[in-house]
């Protein structure tokens, strides 16, 4: 399992009802179902991902996140997870609102644009960063809303959303997630656990 997913896996309590936005091949949901008695749904638009989910017995819905979560009622589940999708959304801020309507708590992981290597790339080459976590050129990238660890924390403050937990990691999956000294500088991936209200 991807390093960010492993951390998220640890954060999810037994018997939780969850929604995984952009669930990919369903690895996280399948592991949670098997070992933690977690139930829920994954949302995905890639047909290969959907087929892989079905093969694992994971409930998966073909749904574009930009179309919103209107088919889920308020408090439909305990927890909404979204990994590596925030930056591709048309409106990440309204999605955050919807996620916290559907569940009282969310876990969000996204590439931290303030990572030191990205800063160096921009500072010294004067070009948009291209890296392991951001592999696309500026003109064909799906990442239309890149943000930093601090940007997200600031958005939560503005919206009155409580940050329960936060972590950073590197994309090579070997980094330790406990470094909290300068997360905005050294974290390649940012992970937030947030709760509705203050």
């Amino acid at each position: 399992m991807r390093a960010d997913l492993e951390l998220i896996y640890d954060w999810i309590p037994n018997d939780a009802r969850i929604l995984d936005l952009g669930c990919g091949d369903g690895t996280l949901l399948a592991a949670l179902a098997r070992h933690k008695n977690v139930t829920g749904y994954g949302l995905e638009i890639d047909a290969d991902g959907i087929a892989a989910c079905l093969g694992k017995g994971v409930n998966v819905l073909e749904q574009n996140l930009d179309d919103g979560l209107g088919n889920f009622v308020d408090d439909a589940c305990d927890l909404v997870i979204m990994t590596q999708a925030l930056q591709v959304l048309r409106r990440p801020d309204t999605m955050l609102d919807q996620m916290l309507r559907v569940a009282p708590e969310c876990i969000i992981a996204f590439p931290n644009f303030a990572y030191w290597k990205h800063r160096l790339h921009l500072a010294f080459r004067g070009r948009m960063p291209v890296s392991r976590s951001l592999p696309h050129a500026w003109y064909d990238t799906p990442n239309i809303h890149l943000s930093t660890f601090q940007d997200f924390a600031s958005l939560c403050r503005d919206k009155g959303i409580t940050i329960v937990d936060e972590a950073v990691g590197s994309a090579d999956h070997e980094g330790h997630w406990t470094s909290r000294l300068w997360p905005n500088l050294f974290g390649e991936t940012a992970i937030f656990r947030v709760r509705r209200g203050r």
């Binding site: 139930t39 749904y41 047909a47 290969d48 959907i50 087929a51 892989a52 989910c53 079905l54 093969g55 694992k56 017995g57 994971v58 409930n59 998966v60 819905l61 073909e62 749904q63 088919n71 889920f72 009622v73 439909a76």
Partner: protein, 385 residues
């Protein structure tokens, strides 16, 4: 002999007939004292009787879903692309049951059968059937075959409605359900198309109020028109366009009303073929069953409440260019299942072929549906999919 069939075909199949002597109470208030169902099976029922898959057919479908009735048969069963050894519904793994519904015209008790009370054909007096009636009769067939619980109930279009109804009427007897290119209820537009088809049949002078057999007549014209209008709704604008465009049969306009465009020729051919192989009373009855299906109707329009008894995971499949039962109709079903907290998966398969797409080969559809069926089999055997 079997060498003449493709290796992924179930090969030669022989329909069987099951006779039921216990009366069946119908939604319309009438009772069928006795009835027969014609059916086919493919594959082998395992010792635990846990690998049975029920196939529910659509408007003009029947029991012959896969394989061939004879070496001379030109075309295999109607869902042969998806049923067979190594196919999506893998007959090496599953025991597949496919029947002709009551009221049909392919061997099950229907308008062409003899009414035992009168000694005369039922004709137009055959009771109007509902999807719920069909599901009850299918459960009787399952009893007879010793199937307590289906590994999956699968259906496309009107067949998908039967699959849905199974989860409401017999939740304990369905382990999985696949509802394909279906809708939880017909729209006014759907009913309108059905009504035009019915009027075409009923206004044919050869219809004789449904007693055409007594007059040794067949309302061919009406059936032909009904099929032509139905067929338009099965295809997409795109698939018709790419297949026929504005192509002419000859190289010039004739300024007359004979067939000029290829699409006219195609529709007339479809209509003609259908008019000689399908019974008019059955067609009327099947379209009524479509119109009446509305499980939410008994729950103040609340589909979630109607689906409350359902206890198995759903697979809901729609097709991007299906405008007869559009993807939005499938999403209504999915949303209702989500509100009811049921296990559900959904995919909107990319296809240019409109409603008919559910019958046709499609890589994406086969990958998703196949993955789902392999997981069902893995659950039965306890192996990893």
């Amino acid at each position: 002999m079997s060498a003449s069939f493709p290796s992924d075909s179930v090969g030669l199949v022989t329909p069987q007939i099951a006779t039921f002597e216990t009366p069946l109470a119908l939604a319309c208030g009438k009772t069928l004292e006795r009835f027969e169902l014609v059916y086919e099976t493919y594959g082998t029922l395992n010792a635990e009787r846990s690998n049975a898959v029920l196939i529910c057919h659509a408007l003009s479908g029947h029991h012959h879903a896969a394989g061939y009735h004879s070496v001379d048969e030109r075309k295999p069963g109607w869902w042969d692309a998806y049923i067979g050894p190594g196919k999506v519904i893998d007959t090496d793994r599953f025991f597949v049951v496919s029947l002709n519904n009551l009221g049909g015209c392919h061997g099950s008790t229907g308008p062409c059968s003899i009414n035992p009370l009168t000694g005369h054909q039922w004709g137009p007096t055959f009771p109007v059937m509902t999807v719920a009636d069909w599901v009850h009769s299918q459960a009787r067939l399952a009893d007879k075959l010793g199937i307590e619980r289906f590994a999956a109930v699968v259906g496309g279009s009107l067949g998908g409605m039967q699959a849905m109804q199974w989860t409401i009427a017999y939740p304990e007897r369905v382990a999985n359900v696949a509802v394909i290119a279906a809708t939880p209820r017909l729209s006014a537009q759907n009913i309108a198309f059905n009504e035009v088809a019915r009027q075409a049949i009923r206004s044919d002078p050869d219809f004789h109020d449904g007693w055409y057999a007594d007059h040794e007549a067949i309302p061919k014209l009406g059936l032909k028109l009904a099929r032509m209008i139905g067929h338009i709704t099965y295809l997409s604008e795109h698939s018709m366009g790419s297949r026929f465009g504005r192509d002419l049969r000859s190289d010039q306009l004739n300024f007359g009303y004979d067939v000029e465009f290829q699409v006219e020729s195609y529709l007339r051919h479809q209509g003609d073929t259908f008019s000689t192989r399908f019974d008019a009373n059955t067609y009327l009855l099947m379209t009524k069953a479509l119109d009446y299906f509305d499980p939410a109707g008994q729950h103040d329009g609340d589909l979630s409440a109607a689906l409350a008894p359902a206890a198995c995971p759903f697979l809901v499949v729609s097709f991007t260019t299906d405008w007869r039962f559009a993807p939005a109709r499938s999403r209504e079903l999915v949303s209702a299942l989500l509100r009811a907290g049921k296990a559900v998966s959904y995919i909107n398969v990319d296809s240019p072929h409109g409603h008919d797409a559910f019958l046709l080969p499609n890589d994406q559809y086969e990958a998703v549906f196949g993955s789902y069926m392999r997981r069902i089999h893995a659950d039965i055997t306890g192996e990893a999919a």
